[in-house]
Amino acid sequence: MSVTTLTMNGTLVSAAEGATLLAVAREHHIPIPTLCHFEGLSEVGACRLCLVEVEGSNRLQAACMTKAVEGMTVTTNSETLRSYRRQIVELLLAERNHVCAVCVANHTCELQNLAVSMGVHHVRYEPQAPQLSMDASHPRWILDHNRCVLCTRCVRVCDEIEGAHTWDLMGRGRHTLVISDLHEPWGQSESCTSCGKCVRVCPTGALFEKGTSATNKDPHFVTYLKMAREQKLWNR
């Protein structure tokens, strides 16, 4: 496998062939915030938090979907980028009903962590406060649309890792909702295998376990499942 060399924030870094800028940055401990990205799942480039500046291109590129190229010069943390990221987090916080004090994901929430790390202590935008429903029809878990950031991690983990494709999206724009099957109650879904992967990858309190105050998130299990499958660790 050939290796490429590129400059990231003024430092020369090496990258495996075909690696994304995000992977390279993580390998070299250069922080780039992400939300829709999840290790082991396909990339969608939807949250726009990982946008970086690539010299020679007037468009910002999503680090999760841009491949490292020999000689590339990348900036990951300019003042402009930091300002854009703060605005995106603010937009997310204003979009639905993110009230940390009464949320099961308080202290385990990735959106909360992003806001804290970026110094977003208040939101300048008009809170939209939509009246969204909750689906508590599943015996073990609850879906609360009010806390969903539409990162589609649940959709992807269900489709790509579990192979059930219970989740998908309906509606468009601000009315987009994650739905199970053809918008039936989750508890009545015929495709759901009740594996719980969606709950574990959810970055916020949109998917959580009944009866718990904080749902245990395990960011590594998907990569483990994927690796085990690829290396045929299970022989059935």
């Binding site: 939807a46 726009r48 937009l91 997310l92 204003a94 979009e95 724009g173 601000r174």
Partner: protein, 551 residues
């Protein structure tokens, strides 16, 4: 069918035309049909039979004749005489026209002066068949020289020659972005061999725009021919036309045209008895504006939810089902046959240095001649609006022209001398877009216009990326506050900041251009924003300004 058979069909049709004493074309595009054009055509047909003129008078339904506000339009051609155009016709009027034909006396009223600038200043390439070719008869298209470009391509040209001609013509994508067509074709042609696809983007969705619609409804074969030539050039055997479901007439006419072309071996296997196979299927859009964005369009054709994905990879490299895919707009394909017939160099003599050929515009809004016009690139905006468009009705003042729909911008009176080409429009913060041209007079409020387009983008955002999904909601909220007279300087600053954010960080063209109407009105009509914010006054008197909180 081979070339000789085709020539025989053309000859037979031309003989029939030359033997007829009169050809009466009724505009059969959606505009004139909505004002009763179909009834006029039926009445003509009945009158022809009643007066026993079936042998000598031909009645045809043709593509858009341009003056949509004066429909249904009727164009009468008798022998070599100058054609006569009648406006606002009715079935009773049709009866009078037929009755007058034998004696050669046509009604004097309802005539339209064909020497007025609306007609003389236009240069018709894409719309040249309007008034001549029946939209539902392939024989008419053949008689007018249709499919000769395809014939010539297959018989005389190598695929590389076709790409070279198109490059030479300087044609640029008519969907709005203006990417050089020849360059796109050569990229796709070079992409690895088997299983290349051709797509025609007919998901025209800008408010007030109907250029592609009228081409599809009026001259569907021209698009099929352009696509077939493109397929030959890039080595594709399968094409799709992605047409929006809101265009039922275009869909019907396309279906008819594809069937006719297949029957004559102009589409399908071994076209004109050559080695070239090409099939076209229709895909009907379900009403999402974002599906006009090429990656969303690809997802939609594949049967997935119509959401864009980041580029690169570009469709030319990895498009439909990961295969190299050539995507062009309807009007772009409609330009191909003339380019092949008359040569790319000839086409390139029209237009400006970097924008060649003609552009079809849909004139809408506060303008006398509402309708469809085709003008050479580089014509000053003022000439299109005042000479061809007839200016502003009711003796009002011109205020702004909006080009490019929700992705475009508003152009103030100070720039009326601006030549219409891709670079010039981009230079003042608007875009060429697909060709919608909405004219506004002093009764339009620019803040309200910006709010209207933002509402459109907010509702049409697919919801995938955050800046577009949530940013358009916030910008719309801020603009609504301004129209209610409750906005502050802080809101204006927030609006400007959000406009930059969505432009710079959105995933696809929809979000990246959603703030263009805001940005261009902020640039050219800043005072109007300030009047709303500081003086709580809407200078145009449009906005409610009721001081109520919009929420």
């Amino acid at each position: 069918m081979i070339a000789d058979d085709l020539a025989a069909v053309r000859e037979r049709e031309r003989t029939a035309i030359s033997l007829s004493t009169a050809r009466i074309a009724v505009c059969s595009a959606a505009g004139c049909i909505s004002t009763g054009g179909a009834a006029v055509k039926d009445a003509l047909g009945a009158a022809v039979i009643a007066h026993n003129l079936s042998g000598s008078v031909r009645v045809l339904g043709t593509g858009c004749l341009g003056l949509c506000h004066a429909g249904p339009l009727m164009r009468v051609t008798r022998g070599d005489a100058e054609p006569v155009l009648f406006t606002k016709t009715t079935p009773a009027f049709a009866e009078r026209v037929i009755a007058g034909l034998p004696s050669g006396v046509l009604p004097l009223e309802q005539r339209c002066d064909l020497q007025q600038p609306f007609f003389t200043r236009q240069h018709r390439i894409v719309t040249s068949d309007a008034g001549i070719v029946d939209s539902e008869r392939i024989e008419d298209y053949l008689a007018a020289g249709g499919y000769t470009a395809l014939e010539r391509t297959l018989a005389e040209l190598h695929p590389e020659d076709v790409v070279r001609e198109v490059s030479l013509s300087g044609l640029r994508g008519r969907g709005g972005a203006g990417y050089p067509t020849g360059l796109k074709w050569s990229t796709v042609a070079k992409a690895a061999g088997h299983g290349t696809f051709i797509v025609c983007n007919a998901d025209e969705g800008d408010p007030g725009a109907f250029m592609d619609r009228s081409v599809l409804e009026g001259d569907p074969h021209r698009v099929l021919e352009g696509m077939a030539i493109a397929a030959y050039a890039v080595g594709a055997e399968q094409g799709y036309i992605y047409v929006r479901g809101e265009y039922p007439l275009a869909i019907t006419r396309l279906k008819t045209a594809i069937r006719q072309a297949e029957r004559m071996q102009l589409l399908g296997h071994r076209i004109l008895d050559s080695q070239f196979n090409f099939r076209i299927d229709l895909r009907i859009g379900a009403g999402a504006f974002v599906c006009g964005e090429e990656t969303a369009l690809i997802a939609s054709i594949e049967g997935k939810r119509g959401m864009p994905r980041p580029r690169p990879p570009f469709p030319a490299e990895a498009g439909l089902w990961g295969r190299p895919t050539l995507i062009n707009n309807v009007e772009t394909y409609a330009n191909i046959a003339p380019i092949i017939l008359h040569g790319g160099a000839h086409y390139a003599t029209l237009g400006t240095e970097r924008s060649k050929g003609t552009k079809v515009f849909a004139l809408a809004g506060r303008i006398v001649n509402t309708g469809l016009v085709e003008v050479p690139m580089g014509m000053p905006l003022g000439e299109i609006i005042f000479d061809i468009g007839g200016g502003i009705p009711d003796e009002r003042q011109f205020k702004a022209a909006q080009t490019g729909g929700p992705s475009g911008g508003c152009i103030p009176a100070a720039h009326l001398d601006l030549p219409v080409d891709y670079e010039a429009l981009a230079g003042i913060g608007s875009i060429m877009g697909s060709g919608g041209l909405i004219v506004m007079d002093e009764t339009s409020c620019m803040v309200d216009v910006a709010r209207y387009f933002m509402e459109f983008c907010r509702d049409e955002s697919c919801g995938k990326c955050v800046p577009c999904r949530a940013g358009t909601v916030q910008m719309h909220g801020l603009l609504t506050k301004m129209t209610h007279g409750t906005a502050t300087d802080r809101d204006l600053a927030l609006l400007e900041q959000l406009a930059e954010l969505t432009t710079r960080t959105s995933l696809c063209g929809l979000g990246q251009t959603a703030a263009n109407p805001v940005r261009s009105t902020l640039r050219h009509f800043h005072d109007e924003y300030l009047a709303h914010i500081h003086d709580h006054v809407c200078p145009a008197g449009v906005c409610a300004m009721n001081g109520e909180d919009p929420r």
